[in-house]
């Protein structure tokens, strides 16, 4: 499922135009990402939590340059599924 399909379904369910559905979707995702950039978590009921975690610095090796580098600590976004979503998804099986 892609963004366009999500917007189409939203417009049908809420009986609004697709342009409006797109505007609302982008606005909501913007708010979530803005909170994540401020190091705060966003908890959505029956879905999960969005947040940011820091990775430890580590050593890397670039084979193209044949040199060792130090990768400094970085911020990485994460999503943790809630128990409700895990139970909801249980019925799914791969093809």
């Amino acid at each position: 499922m892609t963004t366009t399909e999500v917007i189409k379904l939203l417009s049908i369910r809420l009986q609004i135009s697709q342009a409006e559905a797109r505007r609302c979707l982008m606005h909501e995702l913007d708010i979530i990402s803005a909170h994540m950039s401020e190091d705060s978590q966003v908890v959505l009921r029956r879905f999960g939590t969005f947040g940011v975690k820091e990775t430890a610095p580590r050593k890397t090796y670039l084979p193209s340059e044949k040199k060792h580098y130090l990768m400094p600590a970085r911020k990485v976004p994460f999503f943790r599924a809630s128990q409700w979503l895990k139970d909801f998804v249980k019925s799914w099986q791969p093809e």
């Binding site: 499922m1 995702l29 708010i31 978590q41 040199k67 580098y69 990485v76 976004p77 909801f88």
Partner: protein
């Protein structure tokens, strides 16, 4: 840590949109619903500039309960995975920190690696240059001496590096040396590439057989010279080789190639002139060869053996595939036919799934939300109708001229059924009434045929994808006869076979209006709704 729950999120959205807060709470709820359903339907939901939610199946595995220490079987389950998009990453970290190089810690390792690579390059060069020397004979020795000097210079530099690597004061000096080595290696690489390209161009110009001849000759002469040199290095041996063996034989064999002839003539002239003047150049040749050998032994031992092996493998890898395919041809053909059959079977299996959906009149599979289901069947039905009509219109004209399947006789054996025969011969098993309507006097019960009876498999004029009008009428007749048979038996579900009549030729329903019961037609109408 600060946490924002969905109620606070609604408030924030409401700040922007004012009175539409209630609507937006509905909106976000609907969004989460759609994402959940999309995960189960497709296995993944991709949101632009945000990320993708994906389901991954974790297999069953053995585990241990840490509290009790007992062994458990952890059953397989799906797991939700979120991979952030590039846009989200950039929002969270607009200026990612750059990599910090660790050169100061690892200079010793790097320098050792580089020196090794230089050694390899030198080894790779020497045989190539040696071959060139033999072909051109007298012009080469100056070049070889220069290269050998370079090689000798490089080696002592590499040894102290390993010894001194621990001392921090001399690291700067080593780095300078490494820089110098880099420049040297680069220039060497360019030279070797040039020579390789030349040789490759010569290889491409000459046919395969000539190439093999050349290589065998070169190997022969290399071996000869090595034997002589290892036993005793004398002027007389080398001069004999140059005079008698190498030059004359080669001139005969290379008579076809014009470019090489000129080179060889020049080489012969120069050789003769050198012999006339004095023996000094031969000292140079001998010295060069000795220096080369010494260099070869110092690096990785005896070099000529390894190079010969490389040449041989190179030759066979190119030579073998020319002869091989003649033997393999038959097996290839068999394999191809087998693949074709498999493909046919697959193509036969596909239409079954499509038609089964149509016959059951798209009874929707039970799902969590009814609203989603309303959308899907509409799209599918449209696509099917359009495609079949287009196929019919395009292929109807051409299909009537050529026949897809000519009529044949078939003796029924164990395991035969009209369904299977239709699937085998007409690809689509739903065309079985085509056989039934042609053999009504021989088949009493279409569901159970008797072994040993000879059945006529009628012709199919159009292709299974695009049937002609005649075929459709025949199949519809078969479905109609099937309806009559089941009606005689008193089967209450006899009207199911009228679906086939309706699909293939709806005109028959009007033709046999009097013989078909009205209640059955009503049932059919209900089904189609």
């Amino acid at each position: 840590m600060k946490r924002l729950y969905d109620k606070a999120l609604m408030d924030q959205i409401a700040k922007v949109y004012g009175n539409e807060a209630t609507f937006l709470s509905e909106f976000s709820r609907a969004l989460l619903d759609i994402i959940r359903e999309g995960l189960i339907r497709d296995g993944q939901v991709r949101l632009h500039q945000f990320g993708t939610f994906k389901l991954k199946w974790m297999n069953t595995r053995n585990g241990v309960n840490p509290a009790t220490g007992k062994k458990i079987i952890i059953q397989g389950r799906p797991r939700v995975i979120f991979t952030p998009a590039k846009g989200l990453k950039e929002k969270i970290e607009p200026n990612p920190p750059a990599l910090i190089p660790l050169d100061t810690l690892n200079t010793a390792e790097v320098s050792v690696e580089e020196t090794q690579s230089v050694d390899d390059a030198a080894l790779a060069e020497t045989p190539v240059e040696y071959v060139v020397e033999k072909e051109v004979e007298t012009a080469a020795p100056e070049e070889t001496t220069i290269i050998s000097e370079e090689v000798v210079e490089e080696q002592p530099v590499s040894e102290p590096e390993e010894v001194v690597a621990d001392i921090q004061d001399e690291i700067e000096v080593l780095e300078q040396v490494v820089d110098i080595l880099k420049t040297d290696s680069k220039t060497d690489d360019i030279e070797s590439e040039d020579t390789e390209e030349k040789i490759a161009s010569e290889w491409l110009d000459t046919p395969v057989v000539d190439q093999i001849k050349e290589i065998s000759e070169l190997q022969y002469f290399q071996a000869k010279k090595e034997d002589d040199l290892t036993s005793s290095v004398n002027e007389s041996n080398i001069s004999e080789l140059v005079k008698t063996g190498s030059t004359t034989d080669r001139a005969l064999d290379y008579s076809t190639n014009d470019d090489l002839d000129i080179n060889l003539d020049e080489a012969l002239e120069t050789a003769n002139s050198n012999n006339d003047t004095s023996g000094k150049p031969w000292f140079a040749v001998a010295a060069a060869v000795i220096v080369l050998l010494a260099a070869g032994i110092l690096f990785n031992g005896l070099w000529p053996i390894s190079t010969e092996k490389q040449d041989v493998t190179f030759l066979y890898s190119y030579y073998t595939p020319i002869a091989a395919p003649e033997i393999i041809d038959d097996s290839n053909l068999v394999a191809e036919t087998a693949i074709d059959i498999e493909v046919e079977d697959l193509s036969a299996a596909e239409p079954v799934a499509e038609e089964s959906e149509i016959v059951t009149d798209s009874v929707p599979v039970a799902k969590a939300e009814p609203e989603l289901i309303e959308l899907e069947p509409v799209v599918e039905e449209e696509s099917i109708v359009v495609s079949s009509e287009q196929y019919d219109e395009v292929k109807r004209a051409s299909a009537e001229e050529t026949v897809y399947f000519l009529e044949t006789k078939h003796k029924l054996t164990n395991g035969d059924s009209l369904w299977r025969l239709a699937k085998k011969n007409y690809v689509n098993p739903f065309y079985w009434p085509h056989i039934y309507q042609a053999n009504r006097n021989k088949i009493d019960n279409p569901d159970r045929v008797k072994i040993g009876r000879v059945v006529m498999l009628p012709t199919l004029y159009g292709e299974p994808d695009a049937l002609t009008k005649r075929d459709k009428r025949n199949i519809a007749m078969g479905y109609y006869f099937n309806y009559l048979y089941h009606k005689q038996k008193g089967n209450p579900y006899a009207y199911f076979s009228l679906i086939g009549v309706d699909k293939f030729d709806a005109g028959l329903l009007i033709e046999f209006k009097e013989e078909i019961e009205r209640s059955d037609v009503n049932n059919l109408a209900l089904l189609s709704e």
